[in-house]
Subunit: 256 residues, 2 copies
């Protein structure tokens, strides 16, 4: 997966213990955060950031490692600074629904009760900021603009979730894949990357579990789109979109 070569991060070794007691954020903290504008730290000023830096712990996990599991006591909230994660829920018999893919700037771990409602796992080497729940709550109390920002981000997540329900409940396999590619493309743009060669850090199984399909159907649909000239499959798990307008029409069922 050359498109996700964050091996600098892996180099910490796979021996990182599950309890994630990584060293506290060292050298240049929040002030230099490259994704601050995307996070709930965005509305804070320089002086206030120092308070954040005091309670945040920076940590790094290798590809494939879980961050927390559904049902675990929700002691922390996280913000992704680099890499890619998936969050998912399981049924007793093992059926899985990936409820979201997270990239730099996204947060996870907000729980309305005492335990996490889903599991989270890194798909590539990933860096995160970790906030103790009570410390963060203290911070929110002192900086209402941060709480407002968080509410705003939660509202956005809700709108995204509703789009995903429409996709899962009413779209065909082709429409699902088209929507999925467009979503990734737009998020790349939001992070300041180019829209077009789309990087896919997740497996076909993950994509299937995100779209309510099987790996086989995902694979077949990619092939169909390729044959139709809508996309090209590049090396390193990347996809080139020929005509994003056409793909957008496909995604809404106005297939050409």
């Amino acid at each position: 997966m050359s498109a996700f070569d964050v091996s600098r991060i892996h180099d910490l070794g796979a021996a990182i213990p599950r309890d994630l007691n990584a060293r506290t954020s060292s050298g240049a903290p929040c002030g230099a955060c490259p994704v601050r504008g995307l996070t709930f730290c965005a509305p804070l000023e320089e002086r206030e950031l120092a308070e954040v830096a005091r309670i945040v712990k920076h940590l790094t996990i290798p590809a494939g490692q879980p961050l927390f599991d559904e049902g675990e006591p929700a002691r922390h909230v996280f913000s992704v600074t680099e890499g890619a994660m998936k969050v998912y829920k399981l049924l007793p018999d093992g059926r899985r629904q990936v409820t979201g893919f997270l990239f730099s700037g996204d947060f996870l771990g907000l729980a309305h009760n005492e335990s996490y409602a889903y599991s989270a796992e890194a798909m590539v080497g990933t860096s995160l900021c970790r906030f103790g729940r009570s410390e963060l709550e203290g911070l929110l109390e002192r900086f209402p603009q941060m709480e407002r920002r968080l509410l705003h981000m939660a509202s956005h997540e809700l709108a995204v979730a509703q789009d995903q329900m429409l996709l899962l409940g009413r779209k065909t396999a082709k429409e699902k894949i088209a929507s999925f590619l467009l979503m990734l493309s737009r998020r790349q743009e939001l992070r300041g990357q180019s829209a077009n060669p789309i990087a896919l850090p997740m497996s076909r199984t993950d994509i299937g579990d995100y779209l309510g399909l099987t790996t086989e159907t995902v694979s077949r649909t990619f092939t169909q789109l390729k044959t139709a000239g809508e996309i090209a499959l590049l090396s390193g798990n990347r996809v080139e979109v020929a005509d994003s307008g056409g793909l957008a029409r496909l995604a809404e069922g106005e297939g050409l």
Copy 2:
């Protein structure tokens, strides 16, 4: 639909104009609100409630009437005080996904940008509190505990949305219907009603559009559950659950 005989509400007549300029909340306002404990007004004290009363407008809409449509400028936030509503999204060709059913205590209209992300329509005669967006923001600034409560409610909505994604993406028709009935039952309890005879104010089509099924499949699955002795279909669109534990196992794919 005798189970939803709120004809006192209809009695205002079907002539209520679409712009919803109902009279302002009169006589006994927020202090006497029967569902306050469920809403974002819950953490406010008597004195603070007076401020809410100043900016809120109480309105009532008859069954079948839209409250707002997807894409409309989001000028208001609403809180349901009595009745039942559905919110949904549409694809260009008319396919519909109902993203939620709302009952007393639920809020709707939170938009992260300038327009509503979904349409909302009353299923029975429904009363709501309407808040101007900017007025509400002013209130949130003055009462941070209200903003915290809203964030808490949004987190809860997010968790519910993720459950629904699991349902839509990975559950069978039978599991979907079982989950749906249990959800309605639990929400009745939360509102202080009895858990068991479950009221269904929505049509089979609405249920299908909520669960990612067709009306026919919804109807067939109800029949199956009835034949299996899991439920009984009562008059007035109500359902009696024989054994909620059994239904819960069905809902999670641990079908007996």
